[in-house]
Symmetry: C2
Subunit: 147 residues, 2 copies
DNA sequence: TTCATTGCAAAGCGTTTGCAGTCAC
DNA sequence: GTGACTGCAAACGCTTTGCAATGAA
């Protein structure tokens, strides 16, 4: 699907969410959504903010933080905590849930393993709980082939 | 095993590590190790620091942070990032690796599932990498039985 | 008109750093 | 005696908050 078509869909989704929750449809919110869906991969607030400023779109970081919270609430963005200090985000509407393998070299490999779902189901049954989210991270490095 | 016997063992382990790496055997380092191994469960730096101050042991937070880094390096302590903002720690010498299920109610349930190891092995083979660590967190809440 | 939202700057909070003084070796 | 380590306070980096001005409804 083209970026433009994707945006048309998520834009509608945001409108629906804002209306349903009595929130205002401000231009900043749509601009931030557009910026996020124009790119791919993971980003942090700094990068998103810089990218918009570079395009001469005047936003404040406070608004970026605030808007991302809304986008997470309506399922258009996912948040990750790869390293300890800062949050990373990615658009989530057209991708299915996946986990990450982080390499020391900087590369991020996404994967999806059905066994996670099995572990989750078992934990739910064993502990009488309802699990609504999980985070699985593997940390590794490229293998030295001649060793 | 008694707390005292446990401490005697990890104390030796720390001494070995400090000597092997040309680091000094300062009283603060042993005091912090002792404080950690006197308790069980997860703790953050604030709690550890407060606990030592309450016992009239004079330490600085800088030293606590510095020492924990050493204890992690020699395998006596593990670090977790349960929530976004702050790190939690736990003693690790006598426990095997395990993962966590965090409940909204505040409870932390530890579990261990062999399938994680299988996923890890598969990822290593598929991507030609060596995985040295992982973090798996499930987030849930107690189930409402009459629903 | 009204009040949710914005931008800005200041505050918060866990963690790290700089540095003079201390103490393990 | 020497330099690794300590305590203290200031700096840091990301995020949140307070507040006056703005603009969506």
């Amino acid at each position: 699907m083209k970026k433009k078509d994707e945006y048309r869909i998520v834009e509608k989704e945001l409108t629906r969410f804002l209306q349903a929750n009595g929130l205002r449809k401000t231009p900043e919110r749509y601009a931030i959504l557009k910026e996020i869906y124009c790119h791919h991969g993971h980003f942090n607030v700094e990068a998103l903010y810089d990218s918009m400023i570079r395009k001469k779109y005047r936003v404040s970081k406070a608004t970026v933080y605030n808007t991302i919270e809304i986008l997470i609430a309506c399922g258009l963005v996912r948040r990750h905590h790869f390293d300890e200090s800062q949050a990373y985000y990615e658009k989530s509407y057209f991708d299915s849930q996946h986990d990450h393998l982080l390499l020391d070299e900087g590369e991020v490999i996404e994967f999806c393993d059905p066994r996670i779902e099995l572990i989750k189901k078992e934990l739910e049954k064993t502990n009488g709980v309802e699990i609504y989210r999980h985070s699985l991270l593997f940390y590794g490095r490229k293998k030295n082939n001649h060793s």
